[in-house]
Symmetry: C2
Subunit: 346 residues, 2 copies
């Protein structure tokens, strides 16, 4: 840790080939490089923890999206938290803890010409732990916040349903909806996750999509129908919710994890004409559009964490970037429980 | 015409059974009844013309929708224009021309207890002809107006695409979008319809979905992408447009005529995740929600008809209600050319 920078080695995970279906070991390449001091005005960040997110699966595909795909042979893109270990940039000092997008590697060198507003941002660990800064106070929390507040537009007394309720985005969506006066109903896989969502996170109800009576249980959990459906999963569950929405309902399209590894193409919501019957709306969201307003959202969410109105759960995997491939896949098999974080260094 | 009411016969078309796929003769029953004078406070309307609309196909199905289905054995629901031939209601006099929902029958008796605001409304034939009152100044025009203005939210310089461009709703959508400063691109079936849309209605372009190079032609017609897609058809065309939309695009879900007679269930838009990538919105509309604002929209559209900024085309079928079944089906085979109207009496 305190060895001179020049003697350290940077271990990396690169995208070797584009997956078909669930990523396999063959899609990844492990490389190592000597750590090099950045030039004048640059910063060197040591990765402490990486955020593992469903969106990563999309970044591995070729083709147009909201950001370019990761190129073959490139270090896999990833958000994370790190510690500044070398800096000649006026705004960052050695020891600063920062968030940014280090990628799946142990050291991230940012030269002066790549340093612009937002490349890295100093974070305050008094507001939350490193895992929380990748969860409620990080990209998932921002996605939950702006997706719910801007697209979902919660009104007191309305019913919100969120899928992936035990996951990173879902846990904040439901808790925030309750704070805003809504009934919050989660959908999650398995009894343990549902119990957590209902008891620990305080949702009004949580329904297990693996239950044989899932449909009936969902209906019972939403006696007044559904005003906001925050969709993280797509597929059958989106189609089911389309049959439960109220007039002028808002469906927030945040993700479609059930479809990301499909080799038969995406399943379109065949009940989409419910949008017509119910004068309802389905709208997509990309969190980066709200970059300017992150500080305000972080401040609000940190208050809730502090005063106990909000809690969070992270699934922190120890073992460094060597475990990246198998850890990522936990997202798609539903094995993770809470926001998935890969710890890289202390 | 001027025979006493009591000696007249009311010919009717009733729903005999619910269709599977395209309606057939077996789904309809022809009945006749003597015409009966309405009681005190009632009105008797002779049907002059009926509006034939894609939405009728939905009304023939069982199950929850924005209005209840037509019951088996009931006169088929239809909007239309008629002449008051008997009245003891203070607001309506014999000879008044009114719009309302007579159903597929020659005479419509409205008793006092069914007379409420909006059941029938006097219309001014100086603003438009009877067929135009079923088109631009009627339900299709209102659908176009509120769908475009409220859901589509046109901005000058943006590109609008509308499917079913030669149809009742489509023709007004495109012309109105141009008046509001948009580039208007139509989609229609066959060269004749496309020529009409471009030359007579003045759209900037119209693309033939039956052309083997449809995709390329659509792309060429929208060099700056698509900001508003007004969807009347659903299916493959909706999926294609999802690949062409710009950031913050609005997709107005007005109908899905390609799906109404499907016996294999509705095809969901498999490219719906384009809503996420583009932070775009897909939103449904039911025109009845804007009932209070019809007069304002009629006044605006009548101005455009009068000053020549807008034109309209109706496909008026003569021959009375006996021709209702085969005429309705023209909507689903694409044989109609312009707003489909069934003339019932002079």
């Amino acid at each position: 840790m305190n060895s001179p920078v020049a003697t350290r080695v940077n271990h990396q995970v690169r995208l070797a080939s584009r997956p078909v279906g669930l990523p396999t070991a063959a899609n990844w390449q492990f490389t190592e490089e000597p750590v090099v001091e950045p030039g004048a005005g640059g910063v060197l960040v040591q990765t402490l923890a990486l955020s593992l997110d469903p969106a990563m699966r999309g970044w591995m595909n070729e083709g147009r999206s909201y950001i370019p795909p990761v190129g073959l042979g490139e270090v896999m893109r990833a958000g994370g938290i790190g510690r500044v270990v070398a800096s000649s940039h006026p705004e960052f000092a050695v020891g600063d803890i920062v968030s940014g997008g280090p990628g799946v590697q142990e050291y991230w060198r940012i030269e002066a010409d790549a340093m612009r507003r937002g490349t890295i941002a100093r974070i305050d660990l008094r507001l939350g732990s490193v895992p929380q800064w990748l969860n409620v106070l990080g990209m998932p929390g921002m996605t939950a916040y702006f997706g719910l507040m801007e697209v979902g537009q919660p009104q007191p007394g309305q019913t919100l349903v969120v899928s992936g309720a035990a996951g990173a985005v879902g846990q904040t969506v439901g808790q925030l909806a309750r704070i805003k006066g809504c009934r919050a109903v989660g959908i999650a896989g398995g009894r343990a996750k549902c119990d957590f969502v209902q008891r620990e996170l305080g949702f009004d109800a949580c329904v297990d999509y693996k239950s044989p009576s899932f449909k009936d249980e969902l209906k019972a959990a939403c006696p007044d129908g559904v005003d906001i459906y925050f969709d993280n999963v797509g597929g059958e569950i989106l189609d089911l919710l389309l049959t439960r929405i109220n007039r002028r309902a808002r469906i927030v399209i945040c993700g479609a994890i059930s479809q990301y590894n499909s080799t038969e193409g995406v399943q379109g919501p065949k009940n989409y004409l419910s949008l017509l019957v119910n004068r309802a709306r389905m709208e997509g969201l990309v969190v980066f559009d709200y970059l300017d307003r992150y500080p305000q959202a972080v401040a609000e969410l940190a208050t809730y964490l502090k005063d106990g109105r909000m809690t969070s759960r992270e699934d922190v995997v120890e073992g460094g970037i060597a475990l990246f491939p198998q850890t990522l896949n936990k997202l798609f098999t539903g094995e993770n429980f809470g926001k998935l974080v890969l710890k890289v260094a202390d």
